[in-house]
Amino acid sequence: MSILLGKETAFIVQGITGREAVNLTRECLDYGSRVVGGVTPGRKGREVHGVPVFDTVAQAVENHGAPVDGSVVTVPPAFTKDAVLEAIENGIKLIVVVTERIPRRDVAQMVELAELRGARIIGPNCLGLIVPAVCKMGGIGGPAKDAAKAYAPGPVGVMSRSGGMTTEISSALTRAGLGVSTAVSIGGDAIIGSTYAELMPYFEADEQTRAIVIYTEPGGRMEAQLSAWVKENDSRLPVVAFMAGKFMDDEEMKGMSFGHAGTIVEGKEDTATEKIVRLEAAGIRVVERIDEIPDAVKEKLGATV
């Protein structure tokens, strides 16, 4: 099994004629995903790798003749909110927002509407999600042959604020003989559609998943929320965390953001040091070195068997 995405999931790509979107569509099709349409206003009638292009989401849904489950949105920041609202109002329930540099107000509006309509947003500023050897939604893992190299099926759910590190960590898990159930690049912005804690219930309900690995960074309160969730729900899933950006705790780095927009430290609680303390207090193993992740997972899995 997997979370959110499966081989039956039919999705569209909004902004499909853009350079990155064309590549992403090719990669998803090659990996086995069902890409049933694309939208670029004014480009109706074209095809991208055999996928029909429409002017509106409504046309793409009508052409498919059945509900469309998902959409990958990769349009410029100024148009992203409108594209996401269009997807939501046309009944799409899973929306991956690839675009970065979207103002927070726009993100918060899309997320609030998604909540009202029972839709889920992954991202923005993310690479999407992948179910190893089944399908992927977004640029995650890159071309199909590269994705196959880094992602093998297995018991570990991966959630990461960095798209690249999702693949780096999954590759290490694959090389260690563990493998991945579903990997989600959740996005690097200050406000995102789905946080660790908000995705935990899906992993909790997924029989294949037996452990969780998260990659995290300074900035925001997402780790505190995860810690609280793990404690309150008495989760069956052991969690291993890796914290990058510890150098940002230095006095000279105050007020600066590195790597992703969301790494801006706005309060004491957002620093790497404080987050590690909070995660550990919830029984989450925080590894010091990135290469310690597979062994830490094996140790935790051993304890649950």
Binding site: N23, P77, A78, R101, I102, P103, R104, R105, V107, A108, Q109, V111, E112, L113, G139, G141, G142, P143, D146, A147, A150, S160, R161, S162, G163, G164, M165, T167, E168, S171, R175, G188, A190, I191, T195, Y215, E217, G220, R221, M222, F242, A244, G245, K246, F247, M248, E252, M253, G255, M256, F258, G259, H260, A261, T263, K268, E288, R289, I290, D291
Partner: protein, 405 residues
Amino acid sequence: MRFYEFEARKIVELAGIPVTEYGFCTTAEQARKAAETIGGPVVVKSQVLSGGRMKAGGVKFAETPDEAAEHAEAILKLEINGQMPRGVLVDPKAEVKQEYYAGVVWDGTAKRPLMLFSDIGGIDIEEVAEKHPDHVGRGHLSNLLPISDFEAKQTIAATGVTGSQLNRATQVLARLARLFRDNDMILAEINPLAELTDGSFVALDAHMEMENEAVGRQKALLRRQLEIAADDTREPYEPSAFERNVAAIDAADHRGVIQGRDHGFQGNLGLVIGAGGGSLTLTDAVRSQGGKPANYSEIGGNPSVAKACGLAKQVLEKDGVEKIAVMMSIVSNTRVDIVARGVIKACLELGRDPGEAIAIFRIPGAWEEEGFKILERYGVEYCDRSVSIWEAAGRAVAKIQGTPA
């Protein structure tokens, strides 16, 4: 983007929140005139983006226009935390009955703006929240619905404020909430919000910060109303030559993205690294193993050979840099062979032997076989994904320190 106090006051005023009759001045003579217009005791405040200006002598009280001019003269020359002031603000010394706090911030967990109000003003809100939690009112706002006055009223009433104070403060907080949302702020704070002896409410000081991603669509406010120049980016510090050069190389070519920073870094190991998360992980890995990074950088989005070369050259030419480490997390978009070509070209153009100047090359992923072949030819030590980020960083550190890995 951060604003000076005089700009934050203007933003507050434009939103219909009363302020005292203040004057922004760039000369001592203007300050004298502003004090004359105000007619009475004034306070002269340095206009810097940095905090701690009171402690640094950037805030002074004056009884007469002459004294105001004198203070302005001194404050205009006074550097505070490395910044020269943009000017001074001359403000009447207000007859304050009580100080309050009104603010709006983002709550990232709730994904909504959060209003904050306290009947204890003039000090840091975090301190009030810690020591007097019952004196802080909080209220989340919807992102979709219009902001209603009652939401501000509820937030204020939670602190026990009632009577005409409640009604006057409600107008201020509701307007502040609307300006926060309409202007894409990430912080909008009036502290202190003062109740004067005549019962009126005025904003005595304000702090505003606009989200950088929204600067492009807030031009009407920024350019027309505040007259802020397009190149006035308000970095927390003055960019270095290295940072300016890397930005120029990035801007010259639309393919891919490179970023470079050296503020706070003074080491001997130059880092040509990427992408976002990879750079954070790699910088930590170098430092944790005793390495001294000369800079921070990010490569992403498949840059051209020229761009990768440009970044590597800038890093190699930095003072104190002995070797560079070229490392990324597994790439799927950026091509390994292109980065390899770029960094080798940089070495050759500077008359350096790539095999000596590049401590390690660890970029696994797209086009790696082609990339590794080129590196092999120039005698550069490289590794694939079987060598972790930690281990690759460790090898680079060992090499520069002359100790065996």
